[in-house]
Subunit: 152 residues, 2 copies
């Protein structure tokens, strides 16, 4: 795919002749990246998915209870649900060993492994920008303390 953001000129042109839509834009909407991005974000944007991926990203298979220890605060239910979603999407492989007591192990699939890099990039960004974001929020909230009208 050779999709790239439009240049300034293209953007301006698209704005002026309101009817035309650039390749970039059409790629961002329903048929193209928009749907994929939104669909993917609906899954990896939830509370636990990236944390599970990070836990599995070391490349070793982990059992249910091990995962739970790796992700403090997650409930049994949410761990099950999130793992199920990841398995359904083909990002995580679940292996049930028919023993007593049962043993279930989880690992990233090949596709799941390709998520590690983007996820780490995002995680790094989050870590590096977090202080700045927190500071900005404080400033914003302090400024708006008086009026409900944003621009007053």
């Amino acid at each position: 795919m050779a999709i790239r953001p439009p240049t300034l000129e293209e953007t301006t042109a698209a704005e002026n002749s309101n009817a035309r839509i650039s390749e970039y834009e059409s790629a961002c909407v329903a048929g193209g990246q928009g749907e994929a991005i939104r669909d993917v974000l609906n899954h990896i944007g939830n509370k636990w998915t990236l944390l599970i991926v990070r836990a599995l990203s070391v490349g070793v298979r982990l059992r249910f209870t091990q995962l739970q220890r790796h992700i403090p605060g997650i409930s049994q239910r949410m761990l099950t649900v999130t793992l199920r979603h990841l398995e359904r999407d083909g990002l995580v492989r679940r292996t049930l060993h028919a023993e007593v007591p049962p043993r279930v192990e989880y690992e990233l699939t090949d596709i799941g492994t390709t998520l590690i890099e983007p996820a780490r990039a995002l995680g790094s960004w989050a870590t590096e920008s977090y202080l700045s974001v927190l500071a900005s929020r404080e400033r914003f909230d302090a400024t708006l303390a008086g009026g409900p009208n944003h621009s007053t």
Copy 2:
């Protein structure tokens, strides 16, 4: 930060001596990246944020209505709400021109600009993996059609 995933040996060691927690793990939980990641994901993981960032990533200031045209399907309300969040977090700058009719322009801040790369990485991953994910879902749903018990 010199945080890196633990090696296999470290992980195994951590599992065995259940009490110890590796640097990587502690960085992933509440005090460290976990909070930042979750907080950030709560914002950028919603339905529209990344689409807005992408629209603004071309580096040109866009007006409210222009943004709305760039992101088909977004409602006035959701555009307002999402932009407000981005502004509060210091990722987007809002400029109100005191004219009649009013003109408001939005652009990425410096920090907002640093989000472009991770966002694009994630977007690319989404686009490239989407077909595979969809296929996996179909397989998963077809296999489970019979029984509610996952492992049966």
